[in-house]
């Protein structure tokens, strides 16, 4: 039953899922590192991304490749709106960490239920992007999954380049190290916050859009991705993009292999047990930086 091919197959699927976890997690991690807040509305970016993809594909029938970028652009704007309306007014007021948690929870509740009214509570699904399957030495992988993986990976690489090679990325890293010092060096903190929120929204929206053909779409669909993003970010170490990338792939692989040995009902238990174990031995996550 547990032959090598089956395990390899699951590993491949795990890597593909892992790329999606990374997409969700890096946005969550960026917001934490740069703004020192947890964004509980992150799952709603995913949900909106999935719904927008559904409507764009069913009504306009655009090529999935372009529709993903369109959705990312929309979610970029949604992220900025969210920041402008709910997060920005809380700046420079007491209780920043607590208040941002409740505000984003409030946004999440509102958006989920608004989605239920606007989009309906029926499960929606879209057809696979591609129907062909690639076969390679007994391994069979759908072209649609390869498409998802390729796009996801290139987005992560693009983000990596932005963070490490551009001025915006430099400013981001500076702010996450020391907010005041960065601002004294002439960095416009507010502008960077806006861009961070936009990027984070766009990446989560991309994950939602890419996974739309594989999972059903419904108003509360964003919860699991949010939880997974949280787990990945913590496992990798808060604020560390490298850590999030490692942890995302590791989590994806562990998850899909554990399905082989245990029924999928216990999948979450395995993942969370492992996470707790890792944190017992490495309290700062795999690549965490000590934040004072």
């Amino acid at each position: 039953m547990f032959n090598l091919e089956l395990i390899l197959q699951q590993v491949v699927y795990g890597i593909i899922m892992g790329s999606m976890y990374v997409l969700m997690a890096v946005g969550f991690s960026l917001i934490w590192g740069i703004m020192d807040m947890l964004n509980f509305a992150h799952g709603e970016f995913y949900m909106l991304g999935a719904y927008f993809t559904y409507y764009i594909l069913t009504f306009f029938g655009i090529n999935p490749f372009f529709s993903i970028f369109l959705v990312m652009a929309i979610l970029f704007v949604v992220g900025i709106f969210l920041f402008r309306l709910t997060i920005a007014p809380l700046q420079n007021k007491p209780g920043w960490q607590n208040n941002t948690v409740i505000v984003t929870l409030g946004v999440s509740i509102s958006l989920q239920n608004l989605a239920q009214i606007v989009f309906g509570e029926r499960y929606k699904g879209i057809e696979r992007y591609f129907n062909e399957t690639l076969k390679f030495h007994g391994l069979a992988v759908g072209v649609d999954r390869i498409f998802i993986f390729a796009l996801g990976l290139s987005l992560v690489i693009a983000l990596w380049i932005i963070i490490k090679r551009t001025r915006v990325g430099l400013s981001m890293r500076a702010i996450s190290q020391d907010r005041e010092a960065a601002s004294l060096m002439g960095i416009n903190n507010n502008q960077i916050y806006i861009i961070t929120f936009g990027i984070s929204g766009a990446l989560a929206g991309a994950a939602g859009g890419l996974l739309a053909p594989i999972y059903f779409i419904y108003p509360t669909v964003g919860f699991m991705p949010l939880l997974m993003a949280f787990v990945v970010v913590i496992l990798g170490g808060l604020g560390s993009v490298e850590g999030a990338i490692y942890a995302g792939f590791i989590l994806g692989i562990i998850e899909s292999i554990s399905v082989l040995f245990l029924s999928s009902a216990w999948k979450d238990v395995v993942i969370f047990m492992l996470m707790i174990l890792v944190l017992v031995f490495k309290p700062m996550g795999l690549c965490g930086i000590k934040k004072v």
Binding site: L238, V269, P283
Partner: protein
């Protein structure tokens, strides 16, 4: 002094309330508010005072409920003892969940405790023989009647909710009193010190581990009692009780009311429970508005409702003095 008078007046009002309120529905909402008040006040001691940002508080609530319910269904244990038993098992669970979080801080604690809660929820869902799985545990016995020498009978059979209301009111006041004493004592000072600077307090020679585990078990005891009361009041339990949704409520109530104030969470619980019921009129828009009101409250009262009310009273006082 003014604070005490206001507080006393509120307590007396709460006791007299059933004389004026005949609506069973309103009583039900009050009872639910009371349960949440215990939950969020005890969570506040853990998060607001000690700075342990646990996301597993709902798990203790569920644990207390399931323990008490299963004991009374399978072994015929009296629900009165169940209240204690629920609290004690929850406290034990608190010790166990507290252990892996000792070296962690901030959001790391949040995710580990949330993970523990989700693991428990999964066990509850999948262990169908014991817990009846996702359909939930039903037929939980209610509190037995209290007979005092044939003169007075307090019955909890469900004809009226007044007795349940008084019961939860008393439990709530006792819990708040004990929590208040803890916070006001030397132990409370240690807890605040742990929140402010864990390293420093460890360097002073205090056993941080001991206090963390202690506060975990104390607060989960109260959550367990609340859960056990809930089980015998609603007479139905589902694995959802462990999950993220009730935790969001506890979180929102505590922080909206004002974290680190003990009374703030109580105010927050009553505010949000009533808000949720009041918004039922708006049908499907209910939860959309609920979320919006949470957002607006935070934006306009960033220090919490309780502090906002204090400021408001102070302003009136100043205006009167002038």
């Amino acid at each position: 002094v003014i604070k005490r008078i206001v507080l006393l007046a509120v307590v007396i009002c709460l006791f007299l309330l059933p004389c004026f309120v005949r609506s069973e529905y309103l009583l039900h909402i009050l009872i639910l508010s009371g349960i949440f008040a215990i939950l969020s006040a005890s969570w506040d001691v853990l998060s607001g005072y000690t700075g342990i940002f646990s996301f597993g508080h709902a798990a203790f609530f569920g644990m207390g409920g399931y323990t008490s319910a299963l004991l009374s269904i399978n072994f015929g244990l009296s629900p009165w003892l169940g209240l204690i038993a629920g609290g004690i098992t929850a406290a034990g669970l608190g010790c166990i969940i507290g252990l892996p979080t000792l070296r962690l801080r901030g959001p790391y604690v949040a995710i580990v405790t949330l993970a523990c809660a989700i693991i428990l929820m999964n066990i509850c869902t999948n262990w169908v023989n014991l817990t009846n799985g996702p359909t939930g545990l039903w037929g939980i016995p209610s509190f037995p009647d209290i007979k005092i020498a044939d003169v007075l009978t307090i019955d909890f059979s469900g004809a009226t909710r007044i007795n349940h209301y008084y019961l939860i009111l008393i439990i709530m006041l006792i819990s708040l009193y004990i929590l208040h004493r803890i916070v006001a004592s030397k132990l409370g000072l240690f807890l605040l010190a742990i929140r402010e600077n864990e390293m420093a307090i460890e360097a002073m020679g205090l056993n941080v581990t001991k206090y963390k585990i202690l506060v975990f078990s104390i607060t989960s005891f109260f959550a367990g009692v609340a859960g056990s009361f809930y089980a015998h009041y609603i007479m139905l339990l589902t694995p959802g009780e462990f999950g993220f949704a009730p935790m969001v409520n506890i979180l929102a109530m505590t922080m909206l009311g004002g974290a680190g104030t003990l009374l703030g969470p109580v105010v927050g619980s009553f505010f949000l429970t009533f808000l949720g019921e009041f918004l039922r009129e708006f049908g499907e828009y209910r939860l959309v508005l609920y979320g919006l009101i949470i957002i607006l409250t935070v934006l306009f009262m960033p220090k919490g409702i309780l502090m906002w009310m204090f400021d408001f009273l102070l302003r009136i006082q100043k205006a009167l003095v002038k």
